[in-house]
Symmetry: C2
Amino acid sequence: MQIIVQKFGGTSVGSIERIQAVAKLISEEASKGHRLVVVVSAMAGETDRLLGLSKKLSSQPSALHQDVVLAAGEQVAIGLLGIALHELGISSQLFLGHQIRILTDDIHGAARIQRIETDRLIACLDDGKIPIIAGFQGVTEKGDVTTIGRGGGDTTAIAVAAALKADRCDIFTDVPGVSTADPRMVSDARVLRKISSEEMLELADAGAKVLSSRSVEIAARYQVPLCVRSSFEPSAGTMIVREEDSMENVLISGITLSANEAKVAIRRVPDEVGIPARIFQPIAEANINVDMILQNISKDGLTDLTFTVPKGDLKRAMELAEAAARDVKAGKVEAAGDVAKVSVVGIGMRSHAGVAHTMFEALAKEGIGIQMISTSEIKVSLIIDAKYGERAVRALHQAFDLHKPHTDLVGNER
Amino acid sequence: MQIIVQKFGGTSVGSIERIQAVAKLISEEASKGHRLVVVVSAMAGETDRLLGLSKKLSSQPSALHQDVVLAAGEQVAIGLLGIALHELGISSQLFLGHQIRILTDDIHGAARIQRIETDRLIACLDDGKIPIIAGFQGVTEKGDVTTIGRGGGDTTAIAVAAALKADRCDIFTDVPGVSTADPRMVSDARVLRKISSEEMLELADAGAKVLSSRSVEIAARYQVPLCVRSSFEPSAGTMIVREEDSMENVLISGITLSANEAKVAIRRVPDEVGIPARIFQPIAEANINVDMILQNISKDGLTDLTFTVPKGDLKRAMELAEAAARDVKAGKVEAAGDVAKVSVVGIGMRSHAGVAHTMFEALAKEGIGIQMISTSEIKVSLIIDAKYGERAVRALHQAFDLHKPHTDLVGNER
């Protein structure tokens, strides 16, 4: 019998009516004869509410104590789902992190799962009951409650699926799957049937919110077949598959937009060995994630250095850049918070030239200037003026014909 | 060094500001050099909110699952208090029911504490940290979360105090202590310095809400010195002491009013052996708590049988009484939902005649008729028309001079 892990996110259990809908969905899946294991997040808004309470007590709440507060959100959600299933005549057993046990390290607030004991889950399945697991939480070897960071519910589900060697892990969310672009921006965006985990990783990194890159990584590492589906409407969803199961002839899978970008430029930086290190070291030490770095061709021994950081870190990054500029005797430092990153992701890109050319042409036709470019094996990202973000996504979606279904080599529609 | 258990109820931790105030209060107590153990209830309103969510899913939520939902309320409260204490530089360790462990039976929703393991609490105290315990919750031998019913926070605190052989258990609430009457009804009601546990038990039974009778019972059984205090204002509070530590010359300690009463009268009941049993057996089997029973003097082999039940059970009690009346060939059954019970409690009553007389006289002067009377060793309760309830409390408070401080045999003011 197949073991299927199904994870329901915060919007999926965001109200009493939603919890009842999810219970019905689970009862339908269970009637198909699979062995189901359910992982649940806190009701939408609850983690933020609890975080808000703790932030009112302290600007930096002690993480050890805050984890106990936050873990309560998932606890309420599994209890309510258990009640709803009981109403449908379905037996379930609730599992908090410590009851399974999901063992983590003791980095409170961002703990890493180290081991999942499966004995009690398997005993529960053997009993004919559905285990309902509180996502996002674990327990240290010492017995303290931990949480594993935002998006932790997905991580829990995938880690449980890996530990149980499950046949599939369904991530239920409020969208029907992974789309070629955000449907709120591109009206003819399509839901992909399949996508490779490499592409999914790049999409997640580039701003697609449907899955965290950490979840995709873990699923890929433990070869857990992932499916992103909607709990709001019937949907086959998107399967996230290994590259070899993917399709050769698909050039581009999706377009993403990230508005959470800011640009810092340091003018007239002496073009000497060791200077960039002296500039970026303090920024790295401040845990600011530098995404793109661009260095102009040197002129008179001086160059311009431009880089992007998350918008929320701009102020701090500017302070550090200004100090570094004084230190290395560079010119003035300029910032731009009104930029966006548009990315094109596709595994076919590796063997296809011309992707960048198509992008530049499409944007030029719209009169959109390109400020920075970065590429990876399967992704091209461009920094553009924020106000052109959505227009750029639509233009690129059109230019790569993403509204038309692709077929793979054996004729399966993707 | 003294061990003191301090319990903070829902209104005491009902807001961020209140949690900060409680943290300050704890830090002051800790600075006195006692070893403190803190027990906390859910923030005011939270248990009702969680109960409301589960009631929306089911008219009879499965208690096993509901306990997981409800236990989250106390979990949030201890986490927030831990954060607030951390802000004041005070180290605490949080304890959920399963982390101590507080072992209970598996009657979910109304579990009984069977055993409290104290090793981890003592290790925590030895570490110089303050243990903060989630009240109201426990864990079964099997590892399932349980709750121990309304007012369970007090029970947790008293049971922990008994297990640790604590020197005192402070119950912090929103009133300054146990009063001679409800201050909202009687403006010159006084807070008692001391009261015997027997009197407190009768007061709790008779409608005083400051402590549940279950808590008083457990405290008396394990000889835990209890103190009821306010977390809102500095107060010495009321010590609940053993009878021998109480005072002989105090006639009456307090007056209570319970509005949660309803009266059922069965007319023309055959006055034969075995008939009352046939009437009350089905009512007892329905778990309806019959408080007073009054039987008139028989006339022509027939009598009237009157009894009181909690208001919420009146409808069901009427149905059962009507069936029983048909069964024993009695007359018609009448109900009155608009009655109240006013009680006078005092340990001195045992050796003093005239209490009932003073009561009757005081009520007669106010034109208040008495419908039923019941007495125990240290309590006299009267059923009266509900609309006279508060007036009766004021008249009795005045008649027994409760506004004047009493002094005991050695001159200590009570």
